[in-house]
């Protein structure tokens, strides 16, 4: 696969790889994709009481563009408000990484991961 330099950079030097405590009420965890489909992303967002994303971490099983999409997403949402982070779309991710058409689904998955992490955070808030 002929990838853009940006994909290669994120793949070779992925940003914010890691995990946070799932039980932390300030941490929202999104786990999207499926092993059978060849990609799974776990995105975790640490959100403070002002609704600002203080930290983001990811782990991804998937191809180079899936890893790059998740790495990019962590850098995009860090420091943003939850409302702004929700506005990040797969088109933004695909454009930024110049993803080839067959890899657009990776950016869709990355957008889903943000939404899933925020949903998890909100659920924790309402449950507690």
């Amino acid at each position: 696969m002929a990838y853009s330099q940006k994909v290669i950079d994120h793949y070779e030097n992925p940003q914010n790889v890691g995990s946070m405590d799932k039980a932390d009420p300030q941490v929202g965890t999104g786990l999207v994709g499926a092993p059978a489909c060849g990609d799974v992303m776990k995105l975790q967002l640490k959100i403070n009481d002002d609704g600002i994303i203080e930290d983001a971490k990811f782990k991804t099983f998937g191809c180079g563009s899936a890893i790059a999409s998740s790495s990019l997403v962590t850098t995009m949402v860090k420091g943003k408000s939850v409302m702004d982070a929700e506005q990040v779309s797969n088109a933004d991710i695909a454009r930024e990484l110049a993803l080839p058409p067959v890899k657009i689904h990776c950016s869709v998955l990355a957008e889903d991961a943000i939404k899933a992490a925020i949903a998890d955070y909100r659920k924790k808030r309402t449950d507690s």
């Binding site: 793949y11 092993p35 489909c37 099983f61 890893i67 998955l109």
Partner: protein, 409 residues
């Protein structure tokens, strides 16, 4: 790590092999100096070309224990497979319209069979077990009164698994049906004797045995039984009417030389050297990494092939990480179809593991130093990517991945 290695390392010898310099040397004079058309019977240019083609025919025949008159030159194994399957099936259509093949065959076989299905033929696709092997009992049971041809490859191109061709040949002979064998992957590494193995049609490719691309051959038995195939390319009636088209002298010379060298290599034990490299790679990786899964039988396997699933590391990401090694993946992400390997699926390999498979094909020009470099690099990258894999993390936390409600997409 040695700094003298030529990178990227070529570990994809099941896809194609470099042309041996001795093959190149043999071919060159037939491009300009002896450029004649082997079919030109009236002048010296034609005679020189014809002589070279006949020498090559003998070299190819010798490799498989055939007679030169049983060798038909083609453009490659895809054409040979097409000619064997369609040619034999159509010629015998009045006798019967049933063929038997295997789910893990090369696409050249499977797609030829699909084409015949559209013409009204019926095909039985034998299943394979978890090791990638067919059951001889199932083959026996599948043969019917209207079966005319059985096609089973010697060595699988993805997993290197060897089918019991001699036993298959014996069954086909006993039942009176033709046996076609795609032997492309095995030719450079295993002795083949079409008589002893009762093979009636056998596909050959040059570029899988250190010869040039664009040329191959089909062995068509002449003795008992005499095998007839209907041509799929019509024209000047070359190759005893089975394959029209001006013979590509230089290519055929290359195929012949490659066959001669392959035969010599097998006799001189060169194969054991390749097997030792492959074994060194596998044992080295296993010593360093957990959760590696060998795809296909270890016992019944080409000496140069290693197909491994590196669990929790997606194949394409893996190949990006080890870009200093040229290899292949069964992952969907490396294919145009976005479907993981049908060969692995046919063996019942979990689709999750199919996505993580990598094929290494060692060959004549690989060295121990290259293998050691590869072991170190692969070990590093697998550790790096597993560190990044949520699946590996979950498994280490004791979570059963099958218990998770995944969202397919």
């Amino acid at each position: 790590m040695s700094t003298e290695l030529k990178l990227p390392l070529y570990f994809d010898n099941n896809a194609t092999t470099p042309c041996d310099p001795r093959v190149v040397e043999a071919m060159v004079p037939y491009l300009f100096q002896h450029f004649g058309n082997p079919a030109s019977r009236a002048h010296a240019y034609g005679w020189a070309a014809r002589e070279a083609v006949e020498v090559a025919r003998e070299q190819v025949a010798s490799l498989i224990g055939a007679s030169p008159k049983e060798i038909v030159f083609t453009s490659g194994a895809t054409e040979s497979d097409n000619l064997a399957i369609k040619g034999a099936a159509r010629y015998s259509a009045r006798k019967g319209k049933h063929l038997i093949t295997v789910a893990t065959e090369h696409k050249a076989i499977l797609d030829s069979c699909h084409a015949l299905e559209r013409e009204g033929f019926e095909i039985t696709y034998l299943e394979v077990d978890a090791e990638g092997l067919i059951s001889l009992d199932a083959l026996r049971k599948a043969i019917r009164d209207d079966t005319t041809l059985v096609s089973v490859m010697y060595a699988n191109n993805e997993i290197g698994v060897l089918q019991p061709v001699a036993e298959i040949g014996a069954i086909c002979r006993e039942k009176g049906v033709l046996f076609h064998c795609d032997a492309v992957q095995a030719l450079a590494y295993l002795p083949i004797d079409v008589k002893a193995m009762n093979i009636d049609l056998l596909s050959i490719s040059a570029h899988k045995m250190y010869g040039p691309k664009g040329v191959g051959a089909l062995f068509v038995r002449r003795g008992r039984p005499r095998v007839r195939v209907q041509p799929i390319i019509d024209g000047g009636g070359h190759e005893r009417g089975m394959r029209s088209g001006t013979l590509a002298t230089h290519q055929i010379v290359g195929l012949g030389k490659a066959a001669e060298l392959a035969q010599k290599a097998i006799q001189e034990g060169e194969i054991e050297r390749v097997r030792a490299l492959r074994d060194r790679l596998w044992h080295g990786l296993r010593a360093n990494l957990d959760e590696l899964y060998l795809n296909g039988s270890w016992e019944h396997r080409l000496p140069n092939n290693l197909n491994v699933s590196f669990a929790y590391v997606e194949g394409e990401a893996m190949m990006m990480g080890i870009k200093q090694i040229a290899c292949s993946s069964g992952s969907a992400c490396t294919s145009a179809s976005l479907e993981p390997s049908y060969v692995l699926r046919a063996m019942g390999v979990d689709v999750e593991l199919a996505h993580t498979s990598i094929r290494f094909g060692l060959g004549r020009f690989n060295t121990e130093a290259e293998v050691d470099y590869a072991i170190d690099l692969i070990t590093d990258k697998v550790r790096f990517l597993r560190e990044m894999s949520p699946l590996y993390e979950m498994v280490k936390e004791g979570i059963d991945l099958k218990s998770i409600q995944w969202t397919a997409h």
